[in-house]
């Protein structure tokens, strides 16, 4: 993105120069045509000057030329960027794989030639498209995620947004177990996020244990709360379940708000211990990360570290979910979503099935909460309100219930659009709502609405026809 700004500002400079030239030409033309007027009506011939008219005419030409030029140059810059984005999207599409990659490469060469400082970004973009073409969209996402700090090392703002996006991806994947797989509508998921965050904060502050010890504990506490919530709601389905989970989310928040001696109430908990690199803190001191590894101190080190921590946690969530879907318990979740009566008639205990879904979903929420606490260093009940639950649920629904890739895309789109429309302030939510409506009209079952089967017969594992046809068997 760093290259976009020079391109845009140079477009402005260009336009200004253009407009200035046009203005001078206009002045030269109009000074005699409009600027002066001969008047012979009353008495002798007189020369009148009309500076205001002249100024406005020149002004109109100047502004007009400026706008046209800006549009022209912006359009060039925009076209370039659109082409890049477009090619990335299309690169992953099945049709024009290799030619598109070639076009990408040409773009990349041009780009590095004109803006050499952007080479990491360009290289990552090309590599991503290559992976997308060769190994599919999921692999490309993974690769992009892993290389993200390389491409944007000099842009802490972007890294920060990426960390937030990954947190939402993780929360989305966690909630996806409950809502997407087991089909239990949970409007209070943020409660587990809060439990994770508070248990991390309190344990870390009270006992001084490290992040890596507190993290599993936070997950366990959240899972315990998941079971706690699970018990009263087992008999409920659909709307009734949604209401009870909503209430549960509020109960947790209100308890956090009012149990002042334990949670410090509305003031929140501050100076939560930061995550360290396996015991080495990210400080400027002699025993800090930079000094130990012989690097120059840079606050970005911590950001990059946090990025990889949340990436690892999110991938763990994804991996566990994928594994669970292939195990009887995961299969039972999906069957439960489809038809609870049929599940019971097959001898599966629906109570236990629901409880495991709640507990495991909650556990990942708790992990994400612990990460949130250590990243922010400060937590208060304000971070765990109902809109947060609604947002996570929206991510799951937009992504396509049960689809891992869809949820990831939705989380990125939602976080990115919140950043993109930051200047619209309170109207952001209007835009967000509009976007939701558009997606629900356009893709009522979410961005990725197909469900991948988790089991195949051995014979079906042979290469499918479309691959054979492309000679890549």
């Amino acid at each position: 993105m760093s290259a976009a700004r020079p391109a845009f500002s140079s477009a402005l400079a260009h336009a200004l120069k253009d407009a200035l030239i046009a203005g001078i030409v206009a002045f030269g033309l109009f000074i005699l045509l409009l600027g002066f007027l001969t008047d012979d009506q009353r008495g002798p011939l007189r020369l009148l000057s009309r500076p205001v008219l002249l100024a406005s005419a020149v002004g109109i030409v100047f502004a007009g030329r400026f706008i046209v030029s800006v549009i022209y140059h912006y359009a060039a810059a925009l076209r370039y960027w659109l082409a890049l984005i477009w090619s990335m999207v299309c690169g992953a599409a099945i049709k024009f794989k290799w030619p598109l990659l070639a076009i990408m490469l040409i773009f990349a060469v041009i780009r590095i030639y004109y803006a050499p400082q952007t080479w990491p970004l360009t290289a990552v973009a090309v590599a991503t498209v290559f992976i997308a073409v060769r190994f599919g969209l999921s692999a490309a996402f993974l690769m992009l995620a892993v290389l993200f700090p390389v491409a944007f090392y000099d842009n802490p703002y972007f890294l920060g947004i990426a960390i937030i996006a990954l947190t939402y991806i993780m929360l989305g994947w966690g909630l996806n177990i409950v809502v997407g797989l087991a089909g239990l509508l949970d409007l209070g998921y943020v409660a587990f996020y809060a439990v994770g965050a508070y248990s991390y904060a309190i344990i870390a502050q009270t006992y001084g244990w490290s992040f890596w010890v507190c993290l599993p504990l936070a997950g366990l506490f959240a899972a315990f709360f998941g079971i706690l919530l699970g018990f009263p709601v087992l008999r409920l389905r659909g709307d009734y379940l949604a209401i009870v989970t909503l209430a549960f989310g509020e109960i947790v928040r209100i308890v956090l708000l009012n149990w002042v001696t334990f949670t410090n109430g509305p003031n929140g908990i501050g100076s939560i211990p930061r995550a360290s690199f396996f015991g080495i803190p990210f400080t400027a001191g002699d025993d800090g990360f930079a000094a130990r590894f012989g690097l120059e101190f840079d606050p970005t080190h911590r950001t990059v570290f946090l990025f990889y921590v949340i990436l690892a946690l999110a991938l763990l969530t994804n991996w566990v979910t994928i594994r669970l879907r292939k195990l009887p318990v995961g299969r039972a979740w999906e069957a439960l979503r489809e038809d609870e009566i049929a599940v019971r008639s097959l001898g599966i205990n629906p109570t236990n099935t629901k409880l495991t879904a709640f507990a495991i979903g909650a556990m990942f929420g708790g992990f994400a909460g612990a990460f949130f606490a250590t990243r922010q260093g400060f937590i208060s009940p304000d971070s765990f309100t109902f809109p947060e639950s609604a947002l996570i649920l929206a991510i799951v629904v937009l992504g396509g219930m049960g689809s891992q890739l869809g949820v990831a895309i939705a989380a990125i789109v939602v976080t990115a659009s919140f950043e993109l429309f930051r200047e619209f302030e309170q109207f952001r939510l209007v835009i967000f709502g509009f976007g939701m409506v558009v997606i629900m009209v356009w893709r009522p079952r979410g961005l990725v609405s197909t469900r991948d089967p988790t089991a195949y017969l051995k014979e079906r594992k042979t290469i499918s026809v479309e691959h054979v046809a492309e000679g890549r068997g």
Binding site: E334, I341, A342, V343, R344, S345, P350, P453, A455, L457
Partner: protein, 240 residues
């Protein structure tokens, strides 16, 4: 005579305060096909559901393999070598045929999944062709076969079939009834069949019961019932 596999004694079941079953007595011997026929709303499906514990019988007892299952929760009953192909089939529409069959084997103890699968596929070859297709995309007849196949995956001793012919073309109905007969004759599987299609059901069954308004009105062998004028006029000729 040997012990009945399933014996239902004086069972009454209620939906709220309305009695759906009023003192039902039914026995199913090992290796038999027993059918319940009757008009809509006679309580046939309720009887089937009551065996499965949903709703549970308020009076009377249900004994399976010598064990009283009257007050067990559904999922425990279904773990006891009883399998059901429920009314309306209730397959998992977004899961593939293969996954549906896997779900059926969820409680199969000590079974060999592969041989169970092969058995279902040989019984209903179409399912093998459709194995990676989503359940919801199957035709009605195929879904019914899948539902029966799924029930068989748990290696039951007693198979409960609730209206397997519902909404199916005559040719498919014949195919399914042939499969049921095969299961009974070759594997000595005991089958308890609830049917509206009285003619087919009585021809297939060893014994039958006629249900009217939550009570057993008549009982006898399939042949006897087929020949009874009351049965003929009420369930066979009238409907043809």
């Amino acid at each position: 005579m040997s012990e009945p596999l399933l014996s239902i004694k004086g069972v009454s079941a209620y939906y709220g305060s309305i009695a759906a079953l009023k003192g039902i007595d039914v026995e199913v011997m090992p290796g038999e096909i027993v059918t319940i026929i009757g008009a809509n709303g006679a309580g046939k499906s309720t009887l089937m559901m009551t065996i499965c514990g949903n709703p549970q019988a308020r009076k009377g007892s249900i004994v399976f393999e010598g064990r009283d299952i009257t007050h067990l929760p559904t999922y425990q009953i279904m773990r006891m070598k009883i399998a059901q192909s429920p009314e309306g089939r209730r397959i998992f529409p977004r899961m593939t045929v293969f996954e549906n069959l896997q779900m059926g084997a969820a409680t199969a103890e000590g079974g060999d999944f592969k041989s169970d699968l092969a058995r279902v596929y040989s019984l209903f070859p179409i399912l093998e062709q459709r194995s990676s297709q989503r359940g919801g995309t199957l035709s009605g007849g195929e879904q019914q076969m899948l539902s029966i196949g799924r029930a068989l995956m748990s290696r039951p001793r007693l198979l409960l079939l609730d209206e397997p012919s519902l909404g199916l073309a005559p040719l498919i109905v014949r195919q399914i009834f042939t499969a049921i007969r095969e299961l009974n004759q070759q594997e000595k599987l005991t089958i308890f069949l609830v049917e509206q299609n009285a003619f087919h059901a009585l021809k297939l069954a060893h014994r039958g019961y006629v249900m009217v308004n939550g009570k057993i009105a008549m009982a006898g062998t399939g042949k006897e019932l087929l020949e009874k004028p009351e049965v003929r006029s009420a369930y066979l000729e009238g409907g043809r």
